[in-house]
Homo-oligomer: 157 residues x 2
């Protein structure tokens, strides 16, 4: 059953300033990720200036979308694995341990991108998320992110 | 001997609209990369809103910097390998085949980041670049990019 609120809408206020996914970062991308069955989905329309070369989307943006999509999915997956909804305590928040992106073909600008994630592995404080970026029905990039629970030392004072 | 112009200053005009490194992309990062002996160097000061959580730099930005730093270094390395300066024809321009980033520690905001690249391998149309991102003298992330010569099909018409 799909939830209406996005994963990112449950992030605590102090942790909602991320340039990629923070709902309080006015300059940022503010991506929204939701479950679609066993997969997580983010839809994003790049800005006209997010170009690599004219006509194609900047690879760094794709990496950024994969990154935040995956850390969000990791958090949601941990709640699911505990049978808890995302508004219960303690809150899960993940940071990126490693990010890998394969660019398969040029990604066209001007169309919405769909990022789909799968939970590959949950092991202790670590969640591995694989994902794909699709434009016009074609997979343009794939990603794998190792997400780790945010250490307390990173919490804003 | 260090060159004064950056690698990106030699990119043909049509290929200078990249969000990460295009000198003609007014909304972009416009990074500048130069040789320092056998290594390539980019210095970049993130904006205040390029945050992951407050106080730390957004990982997607680091991935973006590593990406463009590496494709620029790949192009410069190909010229070097042919004993040519970057203002000679034919022009080399690289796109990213794959990007890998390891995040080693949180990257502080408010200080310049130094990205240093090494040419790991040149093989045909492919160049592998390894790199590190340093803040306050500490390596915060490392990267490996497989850069491939841009196919003609990507050239703007």
């Amino acid at each position: 059953m799909e939830e209406k609120k996005a994963f990112q809408d449950y992030y605590p206020e102090l942790l909602s300033h991320c340039y990629g996914c923070g709902r309080l970062n006015e300059q940022g991308h503010q991506i929204k990720t939701r479950w679609d069955g066993e997969e997580s989905v983010t839809t994003f329309l790049p800005e006209s200036y997010h170009t690599a070369i004219p006509g194609f989307v900047y690879g760094g943006l794709l990496a950024s979308l994969i990154d935040c999509h995956s850390t969000g999915t990791a958090a949601a997956a941990m709640y699911r694995s505990e049978g808890r909804s995302m508004d219960t305590e303690p809150a899960f928040r993940f940071v990126t341990g490693s990010l890998h992106v394969n660019y398969l073909r040029p990604t066209p600008v001007g169309v919405p991108l769909e990022i789909r994630g799968q939970v590959k592995e949950i092991k202790g404080k670590k969640v591995v998320i694989t994902s794909s970026v699709t434009a016009n029905g074609e997979v343009c990039a794939t990603g794998e992110v190792v997400a780790v629970q945010m250490p307390d030392t990173m919490l804003p004072k």
